[in-house]
């Protein structure tokens, strides 16, 4: 498969959406994205963790150490109220963008 670069804003939105449903650790987020998008979107660690940290600095998500069902130590991320607000804004923006693109690409 060819590697395409995800727009950074897009990745943030996808992660936030994932976390708005459920608290997860980093690996879980990556798996979730891959599965739901049917392998279209595959995030490497090199993009995911810096993005997660950036979102933490902006206050959109929160990180806590916890334990997996297998009793392994892992870091779990939760969305914050600020993150939800940002997610809502991003969703709207993205919908608008897609609508606009679709209009342009409509078969003549």
């Amino acid at each position: 498969m060819t590697k395409r670069d995800l727009l950074p804003g897009l990745l943030d939105m996808l992660v936030l959406k994932t976390l708005s449903v459920q608290t997860m650790h980093g690996y879980g987020i990556a798996q979730h994205l891959q599965r739901l998008s049917k392998d279209v979107i595959s995030v490497e660690e090199g993009s995911l963790y810096p993005a997660l940290h950036r979102m933490r600095q902006k206050g959109w998500i929160r990180a806590e150490w916890g334990h997996t069902p297998n009793n392994q130590r892992a870091r779990y991320y939760t969305i914050t109220a600020l993150g939800r607000k940002h997610l809502g804004a991003q969703e709207e923006g993205y919908a608008e963008l897609m609508a606009g693109v679709r209009r342009i690409m409509k078969p003549v």
Partner: protein, 821 residues
């Protein structure tokens, strides 16, 4: 904004974040391996290599690059400084010394010139009043008034709040001891005008504070209340005894208020309590205009401008003077000035002189310190030529290097600043207590204002000194440096020579000032007062008339009582001898027209005179004056006998130069009656510890009046061994209060008088400036010992400075030296 803080916080925690990320990534990898099929293992292996890349990418989120490099620079600087402890110590100490001195002096200046009296409401609205008069073409400024003038001013401007006061010392007596404290005599408006509310009790009522009413009430300061009186109980029944009289304490001042002047007040009394004299029927000190003792402060309403007030006051003053029948000097004027006395137009007081001189000194010291450090920095840079060259060759930019040096410099000056603050605090307290003890200080020597000032100075110095490495780097030739190692360039040499010369010049200025100081201090120490100070005390009783003033007409009774008491006292145990005098030994003199018989001119001496005193024959023995020729008075010098007088050495020298004064004639009181000089005594001080030589003449009581008849004594002088002194004093007080009931007694030892005087005298001479030779006690800049002394010091310093390098150079073998080239 939030993100900025988050980044900063993360930069601080970055090691921890690094660890956490590593753990997180490991977990991620483990999960991947677990979920991966074996065929993908190769994929997994490759991804392992990504961890570092991932970490690097993530780390960018919590890195602040310039802060990292600053931290690097600081670490490098500290390492470098620790490797050269000698250099570091010298620089830090030198700068700390300069800064600390400035910190200490700045706090002095702040107190004198910037701080308003504490505890006063709205101090800027309170003004002092200065009177300028022109006398023989010279402007004379006074800040004291006589009572009638004040009455005029107040009745003409009743709407302006004003306060009248005077400060003096009084004797505070308890059952076991007595000591002098500071008392301020005020009117009823004082507290209201100043806006000070008492912590306890009440202030003076208008009736109590009327000037004709003798004082009966007092308000004490908080400090006095705590130290000497029952500090917790209430005020009923609390009283103090001052100058032999009891005063009821009716109030306690708040802790922060200690008076308007520099010395702190211990107790406030009414104006009526001042030692007062009656100068004839109905003529009291507060009805006559000849003496000016009272200070005036006003609080004009905001609507009155300063100019308008000044003009009104001047007008009132002139009208009042004319009405009183005085010759009005047409250019007399009144102006109001700041409540901070140091800012007023009066010629500078001692404390101001000292503070300003010290400020110059400390600035000079700081400049020397800076020049010194600049020199040291240059030296260091020269030593590090090779290091600099290597770093430049490795690709470090010059900017980066310059920043590195700057960080080193800041570290050094930062350390100096900390040290300076510590030193400044200690030396500030030292300065206060040793040089300006008359002022009451509150708070520590270093406060926020001070710290800000010194930190600012440090920053300025750092920026200035930073020019040194900047300039050096600019001209740096890398290849030359690499090749030649540590050989200094010629340009550096010029700058360094200039710095050394500059430092030496400044140091010479300081040294000369210091030497002048030491000289004059020595002379002050050597001053012989002329009396046996530890063994002499005096008592001055003052009779009160029925109306509360001191009765001058009843002087004859007083004189008789004193004589009888003196006779009794002389027989008391412990008392060596007793004498009578018109004044206490350092308490003044009479001035009367004195002429050398047969000549028209009056002998002139800078200190003035002749000062005349009337004394009993035992005076010489009692005060311990030395007789250098002839004899002192004895029992045969009575009314009717040949008129005699005794003069001091200064007078003998001036009035009859080249001859013996014994047998010469003096006339007094503008008569032409000859009084023969029968003795010459050594010079003695008549008013203060530091004073110019004066001409003095003594007359025996029995012959002292204008017609050659008796005059009355006013003071009783007692001589006792120092350990017997308390007993002698107690006996004196007892005898006097019995012999002269209804009198106020002022009893003091010479030691107390001299102690206060010495400090003030020494203060006046410990001052530093090349233009202040008038302030130096009998020392002039021309005295040869000073340049010689300075030359000696400079040479010794140069010698010491060259010993170590010379010795080291001598130890190096020629072969080593040649080879290292």
């Amino acid at each position: 904004m939030r993100e900025l803080f988050a980044r900063l916080r993360d930069w601080i925690r970055r090691d921890q974040l690094d660890r956490e990320l590593r753990e997180e990534l490991q977990f991620h990898q483990q999960q991947l391996e677990r979920d991966m099929s074996p065929s993908d293992n190769a994929h997994a292996m490759r991804r392992l290599g990504n961890i570092t890349a991932v970490r690097e990418a993530a780390r960018e989120r919590w890195c602040v690059p310039w802060m990292d490099s600053v931290q690097q620079d600081v670490r490098y600087a500290i390492r470098g400084l620790r490797r050269n402890p000698g250099f570091t110590t010298v620089v830090v100490l030198t700068l700390a010394l300069g800064l600390g001195a400035n910190a200490a002096v700045f706090s002095l200046l702040d107190r004198l010139f910037l701080q308003t009296p504490s505890g006063v409401a709205d101090a800027d609205g309170l003004k002092r009043v200065y009177l300028t008069q022109f006398y023989r073409g010279e402007a004379q400024i006074a800040d004291r008034y006589n009572y009638p003038e004040l009455v005029d001013i107040r009745s003409a401007m009743p709407e302006i709040l004003s306060a009248v006061y005077e400060t003096d010392s009084v004797s505070f007596e308890t059952s076991s001891s007595s000591r002098m404290i500071t008392a301020t005599f005020t009117d009823a408006n004082y507290w209201k005008t100043l806006g000070v509310s008492l912590a306890r009790g009440r202030s003076f009522t208008a009736d109590e504070a009327r000037i004709e009413v003798p004082g009966t009430v007092a308000i004490v300061s908080h400090r006095f209340w705590q130290r000497n009186l029952n500090s917790t109980g209430d005020l009923t029944g609390v009283n103090v005894q001052l100058n032999g009289k009891r005063y009821d304490v009716i109030g306690v001042a708040p802790e922060i208020f200690e008076g308007l002047d520099w010395g702190a007040t211990d107790i406030w009394l009414t104006l009526g309590a001042m030692s007062i004299e009656e100068f004839g029927p109905g003529r009291y000190w507060y009805t006559i205009r000849s003496t000016r003792r009272l200070q005036l402060v006003v609080r004009p309403p905001a609507s009155v401008t300063a100019n308008a007030l000044d003009m009104r006051l001047t007008q009132v003053f002139r009208v009042g003077s004319v009405a009183a029948g005085y010759e009005l000097d047409s250019i007399a004027r009144i102006e109001t000035g700041s409540i901070i006395a140091a800012r007023g137009p009066l010629t500078r007081g001692t404390e101001q002189v000292i503070a300003t001189r010290l400020a110059w000194v400390s600035v000079l010291v700081l400049m020397i310190a800076c020049a010194n450090i600049a020199n040291l920095l240059l030296t260091r840079l020269t030593e590090r030529q090779r290091e600099i060259a290597v770093r430049l060759a490795l690709g470090v930019s010059r900017t980066r290097l310059a920043r590195q040096f700057f960080v080193e410099l800041i570290t050094l000056t930062g350390l100096s600043l900390l040290t300076a603050l510590l030193v400044g605090n200690w030396s500030g307290s030292l300065l206060r207590s040793s040089l300006i003890p008359g002022v009451r200080w509150s708070g520590s020597a270093i406060d926020a204002k001070n710290i800000a000032g010194i930190a600012g100075a440090t920053l300025l110095i750092t920026l200035m000194l930073a020019l040194v490495p900047m300039v050096h780097l600019r001209r740096f030739g890398t290849t030359n440096a690499l090749r030649n190692g540590q050989r200094a360039t010629a340009r550096n040499g010029t700058l360094r020579t200039a710095l050394v010369i500059g430092q030496t010049a400044l140091a010479v200025v300081l040294l000369s000032g210091a030497m002048l100081c030491v000289e004059s201090l020595r002379r002050v120490m050597d001053v012989r007062i002329g009396y046996d100070v530890p063994q002499v005390a005096f008592a001055i009783p003052q009779l009160k008339s029925e109306r509360g003033g001191v009765a001058f007409q009843r002087g004859a009774e007083l004189g008789q009582a004193l004589r009888e008491t003196a006779a009794q006292l002389a027989r008391a145990p412990g008392v060596e001898s007793v004498a009578l005098s018109s004044h206490s030994p350092m308490g003044g003199f009479n001035m009367t027209s004195t002429r050398v018989f047969g000549s028209d001119s009056e002998p002139k001496l800078k200190g003035g005179g002749p000062m005349v005193r009337n004394v009993s024959p035992e005076y010489l023995k009692t005060v311990g004056m030395q007789l250098t020729a002839g004899r002192f008075f004895n029992a045969s010098d009575v009314q009717g006998a040949p008129l005699v007088t005794v003069v001091n050495e200064s007078m003998a020298r001036i009035a009859w130069p080249g001859q013996s004064a014994i047998g010469q004639c003096l006339t007094f009181y503008n008569t032409s009656v000859c009084r023969t000089v029968v003795g010459i005594v050594q010079d003695a001080h008549i008013a203060s510890v530091v004073e110019d030589a004066t001409m003095q003449a003594y007359l025996p009581f029995d012959q002292a009046s204008k017609t050659g008849g008796p005059m009355r004594p006013a003071a009783l002088i007692v001589r006792a061994a120092p350990d017997q002194m308390p007993m002698a004093l107690a006996k004196t007080r007892m005898l006097l209060s019995t012999a002269i009931p209804n009198s106020e007694l002022r009893l003091q030892t010479l030691e107390q008088t001299v102690a206060i005087g010495s400090i003030i005298g020494m203060i006046g001479t410990v001052a530093l400036s090349r233009y202040a030779s008038s302030l130096f006690y009998e020392t002039s800049i021309g005295s040869p010992i000073i340049p010689l002394g300075i030359a000696a010091v400079v040479m010794c310093t140069a010698l010491l400075a060259s010993i170590i390098p010379a010795w080291q150079a001598g130890r190096v073998s020629p072969m080593t030296a040649l080879r290292s080239e």
